[in-house]
Symmetry: C2
C-alpha cells in the first residue's frame, strides 16, 4: 500500500467495499449488494479523506455524523466498519443472521449508528437535526454527511429537508445523492438527468455539485468544495451505476435487493478479496461541557382556575428549559396554538421553528436526540399523523423524544373534523416503548412535562384546546403509569374512567348519578400507556366489574382499549361500556360536539345507569 | 351591472367575497377571514371566467374540479356558493354552527365539495389524482384548479405533487399559490420572494407564472395562459396581501384564524354588502358511458399449495380489473413486491406508478375515487404509515378506497424492523369507517379483494411476504365481518385466535395441544374490523372464557384489542391472553423472528396450557 496514491488506494477500497457487499449478501442469501456497489467509491473517498470520527467515542458531539439515508445499502456501511477495523470479517459474514447487530438495515444496535434507516426519505431530514445541533447549539465545526438514494428523492420529506437546511444555513451538512438511476422495479422519474437534481437543489437554496460517482479524484474535488462552501448546504449529485463493477448486474434492471447469482465470479471480476484498512481521521476539536441541570420550578395554577392544558405545556416547557440546558423545542408553525411559543420566547436559541413540515419536525427531533439533546416537538394532535412513519422509525432508532399534540378531540369545536386529533392515542400507543399521557388539568400537565423529560423512549402528551378547571394542587406529583381516583367509596356501583376533557364530564356525571343514589367511582386515567392496572382492577372488584370508559377519541385503540387490555389477563372480569367517538364529528360548539359524540356527562350517566341495572359479573 | 366591464364585475365580486367572509366569521365568532381575503380576487376571476361546473350535477366527470387546498379559507368557498346561487345568505350566516354543512373546513357534506381539506398540503396531491383521471382515464378536456396557501408549500407532499404532475404531463392541472406571505404565527420561509417559487416549480417541470393576485386583469391573463399551456401543469404564483382591503388587518401579522374586531367597519371599508350573482359556466362536453361490470373470475389455488397472500392480491386485483373497468391500481415503487405488477401488466392504462411517494399515492387514490374510480393502492404495510394523515383525511372525505399493505409483521425476516409493518392494524382500525382484513391464505385473500371492491369506506388488506399453505377451497366465500373456525369441538378448553401468519402457527399449536389431550378451538379472524362478535362469544362460552389471541403486530390496538373490544360489553367475560410482538424485532429467518417475538406455535401452545390450568371464568 505504501506506493499507492490516494486515488489508487481509494479505488481499491471501493472495490473492497463491493467485494465485501457481494460476500455478505451471498452469505445471508439476501440484501442489496447492487445498491451498495453504486456508492462504494463515494464512501471510499469519504472515509479515507473526509470523515472525522472516533470509533471509540461514537456518541461524542465532536464526531462528524454519517447517515445512510439509503439504509438498504447496509453492506456498504458494514464494509466500511470492517475497513475501519471495528468489525471482523467473521462478524461481516453473520450479516442478517438472528442476533447479529449487522441487521438488514442499520439500527443503533451498532454502536456507530446514530439512527435507524430503511424507510426511505428519513436520513436527510434527520441529518438536518444533527446539523442544527452542531451549528446552532454546539457551535462545533463538525460535519454531517448523508448518503441518499436517488429513488428516495421522490419522498416529499427530502424536499422538506432541502428547504429547512437552506433556511437554517446549514453549511455543515452535505447530502450525497447516489444517482444510479434504478429503483426497485425500474427507472426513477429523473433517471440520469443530473441537471434536474441540481436545478431543484439550487432552487431550494443549496450549493449543488455534479460528479462522476466512480471517479475518485473528481469525488475528492467535490467533497473539498463542499467543505469550503459557507452559508448553505451542499449536495453532491453523483452519477453512478447500480451494480458497478460486475457486468452481469451493472446498470441492469431486475437485480434490486438480490444477492448476486455468481458471487465467486463477481468477486474475481472485482479483483478478488482485499483487506485494506482505512485510518478514519479523529475529530480535532473538543466538546464543551454541558451545564448541570437545576431543579425545575414548574408553573403553579390555583384550584378552580380555568387553564388549558396546552397553555400549561408551554409554561412547563419553558420552566424545564430554564432548569435543563439540554432541552430544545420544535413546532410546526402553530406555536401560538400549542404554546410552544412560551418556550420560544424564554429560550430563543433552543427553539426551532419547523414551519408546516411535520415530517421534518419529527426527523429533526430524532437527529437532535441522537447527538444528546432532549427535544420536545409539538403541533396539533391531528397533524402528528403526518409524521407517523418518522415516529415509527424513531422507535427503531431507540430514540428518546417528546411529542405534544394539542387540540385533541371533538372538544376543539368549530374548526371541524380535519383539525380534531381522534386517532392519536391509538397510533401512538402502537409505537414500541412509547408513553402516552393525557392530562385533564394544568398542574397535572405541567408535572407530566417534567416527568417526560426523565423518561426514555417516545413520550406523547395530548393536550386540549379549551380551558379546563384546575382540579389538582400544584404540589401534587403525577407519575407515569399512575392515575387519580377523584371520587370513591366502598359502595361504588360503577366506575367512570376518563382522561383529559372526559374527566370533567365524568365528574359531572358522577354528581348526577349521586342525585339518583348511585355511587360512582371516577378515575382520571391520565397515563394511558403505561396504564395503572392495579387501580383499574380495584375498581372492577368494588363495582362488580361495571366500568364505563369515556374518551374523546375513536373507539379503536384508545383509552377504552387500554383499560380492556389491562384487565384482559386478570381475575377481575369486567363488563366494560366504551364511550367514544363513533360517528364523523362536525363543526359546532365544544359542548355540542361532546354531546353529539355521546361522550358528555349526560351520556356517561346514562351508560352508567344502564350498566348498574345489569347483574354484576361478580359478587 | 349591465354597464360593468368583466374586470369591474370581478373586482366587485372579490369585494363581495371579502365582505361575506368577514360576515360569516363574525357570525361564527371564529374562522379565517384574512386568509380568504387574500385569495378573493383570484377566485373571482376563476369562477366568473374560467371554471366550468354544473352545480346540479356536481359528481359528473365533465365538470372542472375546484379544490381548496388551503381549506381554512372556507368562507371564500362558501361565498362563491352564495354568488353562484346555490347557498342562501341565511345558510351562510350559520357557518360553523352544529348541523350546518358549512363547516369550519370544507367537507363533502357539501354536495359541491369532492374532498375534505384542512390538513394542509393535501389538496394539490389530491388534485393530481383528479387530473390523472380526467387526462389518462376519461380523456376529457376538463381542468383541475387547486387553490394553495403559501404556508403549505413547506409540506413535502406538495413537492411530491409537483414532481408527479409534471411526470404525468398533467397540463389540465392548475395550482394557484396565494402568496400572502404570512402563516399562522409569522412569515413563511419564502415570504414574497415569488421568484423562488417559480424557480422551484420550473425545476420540477412546471410552467410557472407570477402575477399580482389583486389585479383581476393580470389574473385573467395568467389563467388564459395556463389553459393554453400543453404538456405540463401550470402554477400561478400570486402575490397577495393577507386581509386585503381592510387596513386594520391587511398584511399584518397576528390576525390568522380570527374574526375581525370591527366587522361593520370592515364591511364599510370594503364598500358594503353586495349581492352579485355569478353565472358559472357549464361543462361543454359529455361523459362517455362506463361499461358494465362482468362477473369476477378470481384466481384459484389448490389446497396445500404454498402461495403468498401478496401474490394472490395481485392475481385477484388483475381479475377484478378485467371484470370492472372502474378499478385502478397504484403502487409506491414496490409493485414487484406487493404484486400490484400483475395488475399493471394486465391493465397498463389503469395502473399508476407513484414511485416512493406514499403520500402522493394515497392522495391520488382519494382524487381518483372522488371522480368515480375505484382505486387500490399498495406498498409495504410499514410504509403506509407515511401516508397516515392522508388516510385520516380520506375518512373525513368520506372516501371509498382500498389500501394493501404487504410484508406485514416480523415474518418478513431478514430485512429487519424498519420494513416490518407492526402498527398497521392499530392505525388503520382507528380510521373512521374503515375495514381491516388480514387473510392467511391465497384463496381467502383473493375473495377479500373482491369483497373490498364492493365495500364503502377505507378498506385495508394486510398481506404477507412468505408463502403460506392454502387452507381453503377456491370456492369458499369470505364475507367482511366473518371468521372461520378451523378446529372445534364441544369439549374445547381454549380458543386460539389469529389472523394471517399466526393462523398457521395456531393450527400447529392446536396439534401439539391435542397431543397433550387438550382440545383447542382455532379461529381465523381474518376480518379484524368489523369483527365477528358472535363467533368470539361462542368460543368464550365453550371454553369458559379461555382465549389466546396471537398476532404478528404490536400488542396495542391490533387483533387482540379487537377481540377484547368485541367481548367488552357482553355477558361472556373472558380471560384473554394476548400474544403479540412486545420487543423490537431483529433481522433473522422468519421462523426465528416469530419465535423471538413469542408468537410461534410453541409459544401459543405454552400460553394455552397455562391458561387451561387456571380456573375458568365461568362454568
Amino acid at each position: 500500500m505504501a506506493h499507492m496514491t490516494d486515488a489508487d488506494r481509494r479505488r481499491e477500497l471501493g472495490q473492497q467495499f463491493r467485494v465485501d457487499s457481494v460476500r455478505m449478501s451471498a452469505a445471508a442469501k439476501s440484501g442489496h449488494p447492487t445498491s451498495a456497489m453504486s456508492a462504494a467509491d463515494l464512501m471510499a473517498v469519504l472515509v479515507d479523506g473526509y470523515l472525522r470520527f472516533d470509533f471509540d467515542a461514537p456518541k461524542s458531539p465532536t464526531n462528524d455524523r454519517l447517515v445512510f439515508s439509503k439504509g438498504h445499502a447496509s453492506t456498504l456501511l458494514y464494509a466500511i466498519y470492517k475497513a475501519a477495523g471495528v468489525v471482523s470479517d467473521d462478524e461481516l459474514m453473520q450479516y442478517r443472521e438472528h442476533g447479529s447487530m449487522l441487521e438488514g438495515h442499520p439500527t443503533p444496535l451498532i454502536p456507530w449508528v446514530d439512527v435507524a434507516t430503511g424507510s426511505l426519505g428519513q436520513g436527510l431530514p434527520i441529518g438536518v437535526g444533527m446539523a442544527l445541533a452542531a451549528k446552532r447549539l454546539e457551535q462545533l465545526p463538525t460535519r454531517v454527511w448523508v448518503l441518499c438514494g436517488d429513488s428516495e428523492m421522490a419522498e416529499g420529506s427530502m424536499w422538506e429537508a432541502f428547504e429547512h437546511a437552506a433556511h437554517f444555513g446549514l453549511d455543515n451538512l452535505t447530502a450525497i445523492i447516489d444517482v444510479n438511476r434504478l429503483g426497485q422495479r425500474g427507472e426513477t422519474m429523473v433517471g440520469w438527468d443530473l441537471d434536474t437534481y441540481v436545478a431543484r437543489a439550487e432552487a431550494f437554496g443549496w450549493n449543488a455539485l455534479e460528479v462522476d460517482g466512480h471517479d475518485v479524484e473528481a469525488i475528492d474535488d467535490v467533497f473539498a468544495r463542499a467543505i469550503e462552501t459557507t452559508g448553505k448546504p451542499t449536495v453532491i449529485v453523483a452519477r453512478t451505476k447500480k451494480g458497478k463493477g460486475v457486468a452481469a448486474v451493472e446498470d441492469a434492471n431486475g437485480f434490486h435487493g438480490k444477492p448476486l447469482d455468481d458471487p465467486d465470479g463477481a468477486i474475481a471480476e472485482l479483483g478478488g478479496l482485499r483487506d485494506i484498512r482505512v485510518d478514519v481521521a479523529r475529530p480535532t476539536v473538543e466538546a464543551t461541557a454541558r451545564t448541570k441541570p437545576s431543579a425545575v420550578q414548574l408553573p403553579r395554577y390555583e384550584i378552580g382556575e380555568e387553564v388549558a392544558t396546552r397553555k400549561a405545556y408551554g409554561d412547563a416547557l419553558a420552566a424545564l428549559g430554564t432548569a435543563r440546558r439540554d432541552v430544545v423545542a420544535l413546532d410546526g408553525e402553530v406555536s401560538n396554538s400549542t404554546f410552544a411559543e412560551t418556550f420560544a420566547k424564554a429560550h430563543p436559541n433552543r427553539y426551532f421553528e419547523m414551519y408546516i413540515a411535520e415530517q421534518q419536525m419529527v426527523a429533526a427531533a430524532v437527529g437532535l436526540q441522537a447527538v444528546g439533546w432532549t427535544p420536545f416537538a409539538s403541533t396539533f394532535a391531528a397533524f402528528l399523523s403526518r409524521a407517523y412513519d418518522f415516529v415509527r422509525m424513531a422507535a427503531v432508532s431507540r430514540a428518546t423524544l417528546a411529542l405534544c399534540g394539542s387540540h385533541a378531540g371533538v372538544s376543539i369545536g368549530e374548526d371541524g373534523p380535519s383539525q380534531m386529533g381522534l386517532e392519536d392515542i391509538a397510533s401512538l400507543r402502537a409505537v414500541h416503548g412509547s408513553t402516552v399521557l393525557h392530562p385533564c388539568d394544568a398542574n397535572q400537565a405541567a408535572h407530566l412535562v417534567a416527568a417526560i423529560a426523565e423518561t426514555d423512549g417516545i413520550s406523547y402528551l395530548r393536550t386540549l384546546r379549551p380551558a379546563t378547571p384546575v382540579l389538582y394542587s400544584p404540589d401534587e406529583e403525577f407519575e407515569i403509569g399512575g392515575s387519580r381516583v377523584l371520587r370513591s367509596s366502598d359502595e361504588d356501583e360503577v366506575a367512570l374512567i376518563g382522561a383529559g376533557i372526559t374527566v370533567h364530564e365524568a365528574l359531572k356525571a358522577a354528581d348526577a348519578l349521586a342525585d339518583d343514589g348511585i355511587a360512582a367511582r371516577v378515575i382520571d386515567l391520565y397515563s394511558i400507556k403505561p396504564v395503572d392496572v392495579e387501580t383499574l382492577a380495584a375498581a372492577a372488584e368494588v363495582t362488580g366489574g361495571r366500568l364505563v370508559t369515556v374518551e374523546d377519541h375513536w373507539a379503536e385503540g384508545g383509552l377504552g382499549d387500554a383499560v380492556l387490555d389491562a384487565l384482559a389477563d386478570s381475575d377481575e372480569p369486567a363488563h366494560v361500556v366504551k364511550l367514544a367517538v363513533r360517528e364523523m364529528p362536525r363543526s359546532g360548539k365544544p359542548e355540542e360536539c361532546l354531546a353529539a359524540a355521546g361522550i358528555d356527562a349526560e351520556h356517561i350517566a346514562a351508560a352508567a345507569r344502564k350498566l348498574v341495572a345489569l347483574p354484576a359479573h361478580r359478587a
